[in-house]
Amino acid sequence: MKHYIGIAGTHAKGSTNTKLINFIQKHLAGKAEVELVDVTNWPVFHKTENFALPAGVKEVADKIAAADGVIIATPEYDHSIPASLMNGLAWLSYGIHPFDNKPVMITGASYGALGTSRAQAHIRRILDAPEIHARTLSSSDFMVSRSLGAFDDEGNLTDAALVKRFDALFAEFEVLVEVVATLAEASRVAEADAEKLAHEG
């Protein structure tokens, strides 16, 4: 059974994205193992001496590196992903590269109708950056709109069609996971570039 890391983009109380990632974990039980980690509680990203990382970052990085893939549930704040999630990704690409070639599935829940479409577009670009270099599935936004009414008391998505869509996307994602595993031995074209890169400031 594949092992995935699940990340919610915010630790805010009552976050529907936390609900979403919890649902995904539960929904995939028996099909895939989803381990939840918190990347949103670290200090504000800044350059450190010798690329020293705050406590807890390396541990999460190692889990990601070891996993078959990552599933992210992101809110949309001001047309983008929250600073708290940006911050997690910033530390997780500071001198370390756990996301390198890592399959990432992107999901998001929003209170309104747009379902985090812009945040998802943004995070795709961020995951594309050389120091992260993740692998996302194209044309696969999974969006939960009007999220405050989308879950029942047990935290399950009530819209059956939406759950079906998730299953279809997840099936595609698992294909991506297989493909990437096969490519894992291939050389990184950008490896030399990444070595030259210093975080800009």
């Binding site: 805010a12 704040y77 001001d78 047309h79 910033a90 690409s93 747009l114 961020i126 009414g149 800009e200």
Partner: protein
């Protein structure tokens, strides 16, 4: 103009911080720029209260008070930084200092891209409903290879870049004025150029007779059957015959000229022959439009003064002429706005006189002497640099059909008529910005817009409707 600047990094040696520090130091003639610190801003968390963090409180206050904001963004992972995003999240939740705020984006990067992606993302973020800033379009500034661009004192070493950035900042000051509505005033500053000195229109007192005729006075009188000689006219307040009016006006202690609201020169009090006048003119010039009684070089100044008075921006314009001599001769031209009972502009009363004899007689009467005030610098010519000598809308007999040698006419009129003129006069040489109606964002209750608001609601913008939907979620805050 007061601007604040924020760099999206508090790293020591941050080039984006260096960039805004440089701008604040270098471009003081364009704006007063204050760079704000961001190192104590916590990661945005909707469960926390911004008021508990003094630096956030200060950021909110200073941004609210500023005319505009400069954001300098590094690029991390193809986007703007955590610091920048976090600040914007804070300042778009419980408080909204960026609402309708003019913003300028710059960025410095180690690599060639020069923060191109970060800046694009930042624009999208500034567009979001909780932020609703008004970032300047175009006029990008991207600095690549920043580690090579600054000297050891934090100054940009390339002159070309310093100049270029100054140009972008100048554009931003225009943007700020436009956004803040002060731009409309700037644009109107160019209207004076439209003053018609040719009197091609008419006013309700215009007499339909060839303006260029050297016999205009007689022709115009005949046309309207004007009162003359012993005919009486009822004035406010008195009754004078035309002869009496002439005696009276000709003994005024100044040369008087009447320009009507159609820019036609229709009267002067002809107390002296032309050669003895302070502002010389010939009787046959009466009736001509302003364009015919001023040399080309004076016309801009004429337009400007007429415009100031026509629009009521000024009620009186005062100008010394070139050639004055301290404590010997001080000829002044005064242009006074004339208006009817409704305050409508009805022309300009120009009077010209030499102030010195008046001052001298006062000093003689009171037994006083003049001394130079050491705190004020006035040059002998007329209180102004001679290169920007004032124009005079006075009839200048050297223009038009004069056969004589031109009198020493005033020097080239400056658009900047503040030279030598009264202190109240304000001129601007800034490139005016086209006035644009800046619409304040209105709350749009149509489905689309309110959905946008609600998309952002997960960030913590309170929405009572959401709370009703799901009481289980805890407050949507």
């Amino acid at each position: 103009m007061k601007l604040v600047a924020i760099a999206g990094s508090f790293d020591k040696g941050s080039y984006n911080r260096m960039l805004v520090d440089f701008m604040a130091k270098e471009y003081t003639d364009l704006a007063d720029i204050e760079v704000l610190d961001v190192d104590q801003v916590p990661l945005f968390d909707r469960d926390l209260d911004y008021k508990d963090f003094p630096q956030l409180v200060e950021l909110n206050a200073k941004i609210s008070a500023a005319d505009g904001v400069i954001l300098a963004t590094p690029e991390h992972n193809h986007t703007t930084t955590v610091v920048m995003k976090s600040i914007l999240e804070w300042l778009s939740s419980d408080v909204h200092p960026f609402q309708d705020k003019a913003v300028m984006i710059v960025g410095a990067s180690y690599l060639i891209q020069g923060t191109s992606r970060a800046q694009a993302d930042l624009r999208e973020i500034l567009d979001a409903p909780g932020v609703n800033a008004i970032p300047m379009t175009g006029n990008e500034f991207l600095m690549g290879n920043c580690q090579d661009k600054f000297d050891e004192n934090g100054n940009i070493s390339d002159e070309g870049t310093v100049k270029f950035l100054k140009g972008v900042l100048a554009k931003f000051t225009e943007w700020v004025n436009m956004v803040n509505g002060t731009g409309v005033v700037e644009a109107a500053a160019d209207d004076w150029k439209n003053e018609d000195l040719t009197a091609s229109g008419k006013t309700d007192t215009t007499i339909d007779v060839d303006m260029m005729s050297k016999d205009w006075v007689n022709q115009a009188s005949a046309k309207v059957n004007a009162a003359s000689d012993r005919d009486y006219v009822k004035l406010d307040s008195g009754v004078l015959s035309v002869n009496q009016l002439n005696w009276f006006l000709k003994t005024m202690p100044m040369e008087l000229t009447f320009m009507d609201d159609n820019a036609q020169f229709i009267y002067y009090n002809h107390m002296l022959d032309r050669d003895d006048m302070l502002a010389p003119r010939y009787p046959w010039q009466t009736g001509m439009p302003m364009s015919e009684v001023h040399p080309e070089r004076a016309k801009d100044g004429v337009k400007y003064v007429i415009h100031q008075l026509r629009t009521g921006k000024k009620d009186l314009v005062e100008m010394p002429v070139p050639g004055n001599k301290l404590n010997e001769k001080w000829i002044m031209h005064y242009y006074k706005r004339m208006a009817d009972d409704n305050g409508q502009f009805r022309g300009i009363n120009e009077w010209v006189l030499d102030l010195w004899p008046i001052v001298k007689s006062y000093l003689d009467m009171t037994g006083q002497k003049l001394v130079q005030d050491p705190t004020k610098a006035v040059d002998a010519e007329g209180g102004a640099s001679s290169s920007a000598a004032p124009a005079t809308p006075a009839v200048d007999a050297s223009a038009g059909a004069s056969e004589e040698e031109a009198t020493p006419a005033p020097a080239a009129p400056a658009v900047d008529a503040s030279a030598g003129a009264s202190d109240e006069e304000e001129t601007t040489t800034a490139t005016p910005v086209k006035p644009v109606q800046v619409e304040t964002t209105s709350v749009d209750t149509a489905a689309g817009a309110s959905d946008e608001e609600r998309d952002d609601a997960e960030k913590g913008i309170p929405d009572a409707a959401d709370e009703a939907v799901d009481t289980d979620a805890g407050a949507s805050m």
